[in-house]
Amino acid sequence: MSTSELRLPDKWSLIHAAIGGGICFIVMFIVSDLAQGVMERILIYFGVIGVIVFQEQFALARIIILFGAVYLPSGFFGGLYTGYKVEEGLKTILAAPGVIGFSILTILTYFLGQFDPSSPDFAYRLILPLLGNIIGSYLGGYAMNWPSEEEETEEVGKLTLDVKK
């Protein structure tokens, strides 16, 4: 872990992280309904729409599918932008797009009256999207900065060989 990555982010890094959060939210907002519609069409196509009667189990299955189909990719896109614009302090700054995207969606959900803490799957609906956004964001951010990370590793390897000689 390099000390440069633990530095507090500067103003522009925070602005790019916020834009990344906005991208994360927009992707999530667009893809969320689409993914649920596609999921429903698939169930109808395979003649198994009846499974939705098992509401608790289906809610959990749905949120896991959305984790992979919506929350990870949306975090990934937010992270891609942030990783492209910001090169330093990635370990700290890359959490921001996921958290910001998730927060905007949660606030919007609250004002739309769809925020139901009494729902049996509420914990899943809170934790999995947040986790998906943050993990996706790191994946996107480091995907953008992969070559520089690789170079650093190679340099460390060379240094070790020199010491042995």
Binding site: I44, I49, G50, I52, V53, F54, Q55
Partner: protein, 165 residues
């Protein structure tokens, strides 16, 4: 589908969901909705607890299971009048049927031009069943577009035969 309220077999390609209306003061109920995705026909099951049964019967000046079925038929006809003021109620038959080892009262009727779809009117066919057991009211409704109703009637009968309460 099997839970604390009932057990019923239904085709897995039918859309299905359940909900529990009511609260401690108004009494609790349990409702299950079943419908195929490619036809306009609906099966509805409703179970009221003692409090909800009493309130429902008192609020609508009902006396027994037959009056409940007649009330639901009237409600259905009034609903179809909203889409077509010229809809005609066509009485078919009343009788008894055994459901889950209990004797239920049923009323079967049709509503000519009672359903509007794509600017065209279609006939509705409906059957309402009800019985009261241990001060609990049970209702089953099966209604839909005449052709769809006729084509799915055998599925309804199979479902009816599989109900265990």
């Amino acid at each position: 589908m099997k839970n604390e309220y009932l057990e019923v077999e239904f085709p897995r390609y039918w859309f299905a969901f359940t909900w529990k209306p009511g609260n401690e003061t108004s009494g609790r109920g349990y409702s299950a909705f079943f419908a195929p995705t490619d036809r306009y026909v609906v099966m509805l099951l409703r179970i009221y607890d003692e409090v909800a049964t009493r309130r429902f019967i008192e609020a609508n000046n009902l006396t027994d299971a037959f009056s409940v079925a007649a009330y639901e038929a009237d409600r259905m006809y009034n609903w179809s009048l909203q889409s077509n003021a010229n809809a005609t109620f066509l009485y078919s038959e009343n009788g008894t049927v055994t459901v889950a080892s209990r004797e239920a009262i049923y009323t079967k009727f049709a509503i000519r031009d009672g359903f509007k779809q794509d600017e065209a009117f279609y006939n509705l066919t409906c059957i309402f069943m009800s019985w009261i057991d241990k001060q609990q009211l049970f209702e089953i409704a099966f209604w839909g577009k005449e052709d769809d109703w006729t084509q799915t009637h055998s599925v309804f009968e199979t479902m009816l035969g599989s109900i265990k309460i």
